[in-house]
């Protein structure tokens, strides 16, 4: 590798490398934190919404149970009103949950809820239209079917709830990993930058401070009869130029001194 000759170039290149590395670390940091943000958004926008809607669905189911009880107590108008409101809440929750799908097969589970709820609600409507239960057998059949359909719907809703809770856990772990990864470039950069600073300090001392000190020592121990500074600079940088210029100055000084001596001798 060709070595840069100018000391200025060398030091500038050193600092540029350091800046470049820190800039890359900064970019990585931003990128990784964006991933953390994305994970957080996924949790808030999708998983949490789905969990919230699943809970709304369960509440709606409870409301429908309540409506049925009111209906059975003989308050038909009030019971139907409660059931209709709950159905509206249920359909709205299903619609919103379908718009915030984030987990694998979540759409399939929402379809299952729709299907199970459809069966359950159709059965409930048929009862509302029929208006009364006349025999004990009919009553047994109604409640056992009702319970079966109700549980099947609730199971489907609970599955949706569970997969989203698992999703939250997964996303949180992913956030933790991404946050760790986001911090890592910063830690590694700090350590590398510290090593880099030590190296830079060493090279500046080796290639700038020490040669200047050597030249200073050589100048301070200079005696008038001497023609060259006793300094050996191995590099071809500004320090070597300085040494050459001091030697030229000494030569010029000797030349002037010799010329003046010659003139004095002639006079």
């Amino acid at each position: 590798m060709k070595i840069a000759n100018s000391l200025k170039t060398k030091i500038s290149a050193g600092f540029l490398l350091l800046i470049f590395m820190l800039a890359i670390a900064g970019i990585m940091l931003v990128m990784e934190f964006e991933k953390v943000e994305t994970s957080a958004e996924t949790i808030i926008n999708n998983n949490c919404t789905s969990i919230e809607q699943a809970q709304n669905m369960l509440n709606a189911m409870d409301q429908e149970n309540k409506g049925l009880l009111v209906l059975l107590e003989g308050n038909r108008e009030e019971g139907v009103k409660i059931i209709m409101t709950a159905d509206s809440i249920m359909n709205h929750a299903i619609k919103i949950a379908a718009q915030h799908v984030s987990e694998v097969d979540e759409e399939k589970y929402i379809e299952k809820i729709k299907d199970e709820y459809g069966k359950y609600y159709t059965f409930l409507l048929s009862f509302i239209e029929k208006d009364s239960i006349t025999t004990l057998t009919e009553s047994d059949h109604f409640f056992s079917t009702y319970q079966q359909l109700n549980f099947a719907t609730k199971d489907a809703i609970n599955t949706l709830l569970q997969i989203n809770e698992k999703g939250v856990k997964k996303q949180t772990l992913s956030m933790r990993d991404n946050a760790k990864r986001a911090i890592m470039p910063a830690i590694v950069s700090l350590i590398t930058a510290a090593i880099f600073a030590l190296l830079l300090n060493f090279f500046i001392s080796e290639y700038l401070i020490n040669p200047i000190r050597n030249i200073t020592d050589a100048v301070s121990s200079f005696y008038p009869e001497q023609y060259n500074l006793k300094v050996t600079a191995y590099t071809k940088d500004e320090i070597k130029k300085l040494e050459n210029e001091i030697n030229n100055l000494i030569h010029r000084f000797h030349h002037i001194k010799n010329t003046m001596n010659d003139k004095n001798e002639k006079n």
Binding site: M1, I3, A13, E32, R181, M184, P185, L199, T235
Partner: protein, 481 residues
Amino acid sequence: MIRTKAILKYLGFILLFNALFLCISASISLFLHEDSFIPLLYGALVCAVLGIFPQLFVERIDDISFHEGMAISVLGWILTCLTGMIPYFMWGGEFTLANALFESVSGFTTTGASILNNVEILPKGLLFWRAATHFIGGIGIILFVLAILPEKKGIRSSIYHTEVSGLSMLNFRMKAKEIANILVVIYLSLIAIEIILLKIFGMNWFDALCHSFATVATGGFSTKNQSIAYYNNVWIEIIIMFFMLISSIHFGLIYNTIRGRKLNIFTSGVVRSYVMVIFIGIILVAAQLTFEKVYSFGESLRYAAFQVISLGTTTGFSIVDTPTWPIFAILIQMYFTIQCGMVGSTSGGLKFDRIYLFFKSLIKQIRLTKHPQGIYAIKVDGTLIDNDMELQTAVFILLYIITFFATTLMLTAMNIDGITAFSAAITTLGNAGPGFGRVSSLGNYSGLPDAAKYILSGNMLLGRLEIMNIIVFLTMLSRKH
């Protein structure tokens, strides 16, 4: 006087070499859209920046002293292991600081001991880097650098002499440059041949490449949780056994065999003894397994051959979990983790040649005791061994035993059971990899405390750098002060 700038310049070359392999690994990750891309790229960047920096400042240096060579060699290994852990540490998962360091040191020193419970979840780029650490460390990163450095008087030989033990040079009568080039060419050729053979017999290209790196480097990192047992393919096992064995033999002798020289792997007394000892080991283990009715005769021979060659060459691949084997079979295998491969090969640890020389010295001493006036000389493959070499070998063996006992003691002090502590100490010092107890052939080192992992990482480096080099380096530091 040691010139720091000279050391920094050559350490920079070593880091640039690491950066090259990290870039290849990052490219694989980029191509496969893996999340290991950024950790690998950043590792490459750190190595490149720290490697380029000294090249900018330090002028051309045409002579390097022995002490500078020693410092480059020791610091080169330490620096390589430290920078090699960056991608692991940044990627996360099972890689904590201690785990990342352990995995990196294990890779570069070709030990093959792992802390990973699930290797198969690692991205391909990181798996490639893991295998590449074996590839780089296998022949010694310093030798790679020597092979690519322009020829300069004094540089190659002074670094080379600290990297390759005196014993391994007995069979060479060539320049350091020539030896470095021979070692690298043989190393690359063996890897290329093994990749092709493994592909032919059923491995995919990626696995064939990673396993070839690990085999020829006598490392032992696999891309599968079950190591070679995953393939359950006798032909793959035979190929790997052959390459493990050949890679644990002095590369100079392999070169001599190819060139048709008189001293070759067939005529060398050391190689013959080495192969004979391994053969006896296989027969003993197979016989024990058959008589104890652990397996049928065929299975016993298959498992015994693979496990003995794997541990005897310090590779560490497995096709069966061995802790359930009878104690005699376990002890035989433990002996092989102590014996290790030959000098001048890619294996680390004590090395068979030293044991061979030690026994020859023992016979000489017995003869001298019987006939004090007699003059006895030791010859190894036609080379006369002087008293200094005998003494060095004895001192090395002593140091090895002291280090091993010290490590075992430290591990047992951390409440690690005796068999695990004993085998972990000996397998890491011998750069073999799997041990017994909690660190068995299909197990790993993840369950050990962090302090134990740091100690064992140091052990692996001591095994790779042959202890004495580190002691000399530390002495140099204290003298400087």
